[in-house]
Amino acid sequence: MSIWEYANPRRFMGWTAPLVPVLSVLAGAALAVGLIWGYFFTPDDYRMGATVKIIYIHVPSAMMAINAWVMMLVASLIWIVRRHHVSALAARAAAPVGMAMTVIALLTGAIWGQPMWGTWWAWDPRLTSFLILFLFYLGYIAMWAAIENPDTAADLTSVLCLVGSVFAILSRYAVNFWNQGLHQGASLSLDAEENVADVFWVPLVVSLVGFVLLFLALVLVRTRTEIRARRLHAIGLHERMG
């Protein structure tokens, strides 16, 4: 069986139904372990003091803000190339979750920045590209809501998603491109030398896993809702015509 058959709406509803509760429970468990571990059982940092505890929510939410857009980009490309409706609906479903993650990253970053940098906000490359990413999320959601024809909406939002991907990538690599910013480098990296100390790293990874699972659970539920809403709309049209 081709992998694309899993994107058939009926089949998608079938295989995701048992997955949602499993992902939800795992997400809740990983978030609880990661955040409780990080908040209650890790030491203060010698420079940042107790504010280091913000890392367990700020870093995972920032990573998910970018990765949600990457997921939307992949789903949009699948829509453009193969015209699979479920992929367009999955991209639409992911946008509010990604936007919420962006808001969390921006707010917790501002709260963390105030005592560390002496300011809530700076026009730093990473902060600025993140703010633009947030505006792209807003525009993407607004465009879906504003266009009545679902295929036209999927086409135009896919193009917007492609353009916004520049800022998603910039948000991730801005620190490497421009060195004059306030924001530090990556906290999590494949290069062990760049990582935070192990005592912070392990609960941070557990919390990150929790955010990823939460994202997956929410996107699946929201995609299922979008599929149902599309079917409901079709039935409504049929009833009005007949």
């Binding site: 003091g49 504010t51 939460l214 929410l218 409901l232």
Partner: protein, 51 residues
């Protein structure tokens, strides 16, 4: 048990409260809309089956 947050207590607590509040709101809104749409679709399918 409670960590000593010292002078940074307002920052740490407000960051956690904001995050947990936003995540809770996102989960509740997702769940409420999912239930509402499912109920409406079930009703529409039933109308279709009987009409």
């Amino acid at each position: 048990m409670m960590p000593e947050l010292g002078k940074y207590a307002p920052e740490v607590l407000s960051a956690y409260a904001l995050t947990l509040g936003l995540i809770a709101a996102l989960v509740v809104l997702t769940w409420v809309r999912a239930r509402r749409v499912k109920r409406a679709l079930d009703a529409a399918e039933a109308r279709r089956a009987h009409g």
